[in-house]
Amino acid sequence: MKRFLPLAILILGALYLASPLFRKPKSDFNLDGFGRIPVVANGRTKPLDSVARNTLLLLQGRQRIVTPENVSLTPTQWLLDVFFRPELADTYQHFEIVHPGVLDVFGLGIEDGAGKKRFSYRQLIAKLEELDRQASLAESVESPARTSYQRAVVNLRNHVILYQQLKHSLVMPDGSDFLNDLLRLQDNLAAGVEAVRNKESGKDANAELAGFTMNMGSKFLRMEQIGILLAIPPAAGATDATWQKAGQSLLATFQNGSVNVNALTFAGLQHTWKNQQPEQFNTLLAKQRTESERALTAVLKKTDAETLFNKAEPFYTSMSLYVLAFLLAVFSWLKWPAPLQRAAYYLVLLAWVATTVGILMRMWLEGRPPVTNLYSSALFVGWGSVGLCLTLEKIFKNGIGSVAAGLTGFCTLLIAHHLSLSGDTLEMMRAVLDSNFWLATHVVVITIGYSATFLAGFLAIIYVFRGVFTRSLDKATADSLSRMVYGIICFATLFSLIGTILGGIWADQSWGRFWGWDPKENGALIIVIWNAIILHARWGGLARTRGIMALAIFGNIVTSWSWFGTNMLGVGLHSYGFMDQAFVALVIFVATQLILIGLAYLPPEKWRSAPTLK
């Protein structure tokens, strides 16, 4: 049994990783097909599936959505309702409001919300004007100086706007039969335009037709002004044409003499979704797909892959694997060391491979090196440190590598998840950062430096924990941990130093100056110096094992400052990831590290491992 345990766990883990790909929502509608439709949002071509998921994360911090009738919707189903049945979507509780002051604006209490914090558009509608006024007041304050209430109202106002923009993206969300209207317009276009002209010049006119045509025009205009998605692809063969909003291309109807076929398809999809006619819906979708396959082959390759990637959720599933690996490896120190350590190692390897594939996928989708924003830096820090852990575990075979891997892998993915709540993580690169060469060298190297410094700190935490709270830290384990920390710090010094200097060279190449004392530059420099301190303290005999461990734990504080703290200052060239909520998390993290350092300095006889360490 024990011999087969690792293999069994490996197979179960692999099945778990693959399982999301085989999940299929119970629906007669071709939901996957709809989710795969490409649109341009925030400058990037992406499938509607991504739009749905990112928007839900942004609005309510999770992708799960349940209707008031307690029906669970997939993100795509939710988006379909937002587009085509807004009267239903308005009742879905997908606006997260946690600030009591904001709830007061609407006269709502927490018990009015789903999960005590999620509210529907219907619940907000009466006080939207007041929300807008409050947000405008808040916006007169510079963004770093805003209070939590001010940030919350601005956020909510932006979320409501986004929701409205989505509603106006494909069809006019006023409950009318848009398909019939468009067809009628198509059939009577010439007569309609004529009638409007005549009416305006005071001649005899078909007043009803003129009114209808003008009404359609103003609907198109509204869609053009409010809608946000560029959902109409350029016509096949048109080289310099760009993607357009549905409203934009509908307005062009009056010049072209015909309604854009894609816009018409969306109206058709609305009609069939509204009347719940899956067969017609699927037929329309299939036709639309064949059309776009002719014109958008390259685009579809990426958006289809992205849909699959969304579905596979490799980072989410890896998170659970890391937790399991951590538990198995910790347990191995109490019982069955060999098989459990092997099983943990396999799980770490599996999760690491999954995250590797995920990161490669993101790189391909974006056409960029792995680290382009804070979110991807979190993924990459985790990837780097788990990679190092795998090497350690391969060499030392004592479970420590797997425990550290489980811990760092899980933590970094958790951080990444929280960072993903602020919108699309595959955002376009701002002009300053638009250099694949330097992103691939400076940013990657320095991020590996971060991951190594963190890893040294986490290994030191394992040392302190096992020493203080358990009897499992014997001389041999202590020695190998000490060696691991030393080796990793050497590695961290090398990478953070080279990464920092490469950053300087980028600055010199682009701006003509090597060093500008910018907060992020200073943060990186502090990491280098801190690692140098640890090395010199060890070489000079100024710190022994315990001291080195305490210094390494403090390295966590230094690195987290450089990684996140500097961004919170809101100044400098690198402040691309300003965020406020993370400040509290950072303070708590620093406090825990300080406590751990305090634990490390408990008198040796207070350590539970004291007898075994001698």
Partner: protein, 384 residues
């Protein structure tokens, strides 16, 4: 005596001193980073790094509270050099450490030289405009121009600092002396009639100064704002005959003109200028955004570079991560203004730019050798 010397040397080459200095440098850098929120990047560099002591103003007295960048960096340099001189042994095992530290010495020296030599200027160009000078975005000057010859200006530029110190300025090309009567490091100027308190005496007697009021405002340290100084100056002819007083301010765009000693003079307080033997013309500024968004994709300035001696005349495209290097200067795309019709180029001179490259190579290779040796020793030990 010898003992004292020995213990002195021992102190300076000890690793303990190294660690303490490194720790102090971390504190210094951390404090400087935090203070950037208040002081902005320039003031921070002066206050923390390009100084021997960080001074703290206690009731008007500057007290040294912490060693500054020059102090810590200098001691580190001594510590490094001294340790190598006294413990120097050329062995393969030590080669990595030696190389790394030699690289570090070059890096520290390079940063010192950069601090001393680097100059940063700004060049603002409107569409179609030609300029043969760049402007400092921190320093200002009082330009006194002899404009008698319509083809040729004779300029005497007086640094703002001299006005601030209220030096009496006498220059061989000027038939008068300049005395500062009032100086404001940052001030707005406004027409007196707009203010409504015309009863207060005007700050100056001549030209627009007689109709202006000077309103001092607090110094700004924000990175996107600059201080606009103003001053009241008096010109004194031979035997102390006053020619009157003038208000000069960087807010006054038009120079003030007057005639004296048979010549025409112009007075202007302006951003300090660095003239060049060549000129740049902005042909076109473009600001690309990602489709359907306001996210900037690229900024680019198409300029014509034309040298006075005629040896250079070409079009250059300056864009993000692709600056123009010419005449020892780097021109890079720093910003834009006026609805994308004005480009702002940063102009940097850094003669010691090569040192970090050398240092980087040495330190990288040094660390690789050093840790490589450790790694191989470790692997061999495990194999055995």
């Amino acid at each position: 005596m010898r003992d004292t010397w020995n213990s002195f040397v021992k102190f300076f080459i000890s690793l303990r001193v190294t660690v303490v200095l490194l720790a102090l440098s971390i504190i210094l850098i951390f404090a400087a980073t935090l203070d950037q929120v208040n002081l902005g990047i320039w003031a921070v560099q002066e206050k923390y790094f390009r100084t021997f002591f960080v001074l703290w103003d206690v009731k008007g007295f500057p007290l040294p509270v912490f060693p500054g960048g020059y102090f810590i960096g200098g001691l580190l340099l001594i510590n490094l050099v001294a340790s190598h001189v006294y413990r120097f042994k050329l062995t393969w095992k030590k080669s990595g450490i030696l190389l790394t530290h030699a690289g570090l010495i070059i890096l520290l020296v390079g940063e010192l030289l950069t601090g001393l030599w680097q100059e940063e200027f700004q060049l603002r160009l409107d569409q179609g405009q030609t300029r043969n000078y760049s402007e400092s975005y921190r320093f200002n000057e009082l330009a006194v121009v002899d404009a008698t010859d319509p083809n040729w200006d004779q300029v005497v530029a007086i640094p703002e600092e001299r006005l601030q110190q209220r030096d009496e300025i006498q220059h061989e090309r000027l038939p008068f002396r300049i005395v500062t009567r009032a100086y404001y490091p940052n001030a707005a100027v406004q027409m007196r009639e707009e203010l409504g308190n015309a009863s207060a005496p005007p700050p100056a007697t001549r030209d627009i100064g007689a109709r202006l009021a000077i309103i001092p405002i607090p110094l700004t340290y924000k990175q996107n704002e600059r201080n606009l100084p103003a001053a009241v100056i008096e010109l004194l002819g031979p035997s102390n005959v006053s020619l009157g007083t003038w208000v000069v301010s960087t807010m006054l765009v038009q120079p003030q003109t007057f005639d004296y000693a048979g010549r025409t003079w112009r007075l202007a307080m302006r951003f300090e200028r660095a003239y060049k033997p060549y000129s740049l013309t902005l042909l076109k500024f473009s600001h690309d955004r990602y489709v359907g968004t306001e996210i900037p994709k690229n900024f680019a300035s198409k300029v014509r570079l034309h040298s006075q001696d005629g040896s250079t005349d070409r079009e250059v495209l300056i864009y993000m991560n692709n600056p123009l290097r010419f005449d020892g200067l780097t021109f890079y795309q720093a910003g834009f203004d006026n609805n994308d019709t004005t480009t702002v180029l940063q102009v940097v001179r850094n003669p010691s730019w090569i040192l970090p490259y050398i240092a980087c190579a040495m330190m990288g290779i040094g660390l690789l050798i050093q840790f490589g040796i450790h790694l191989f020793a470790f692997i061999n030990k495990r194999r055995a």
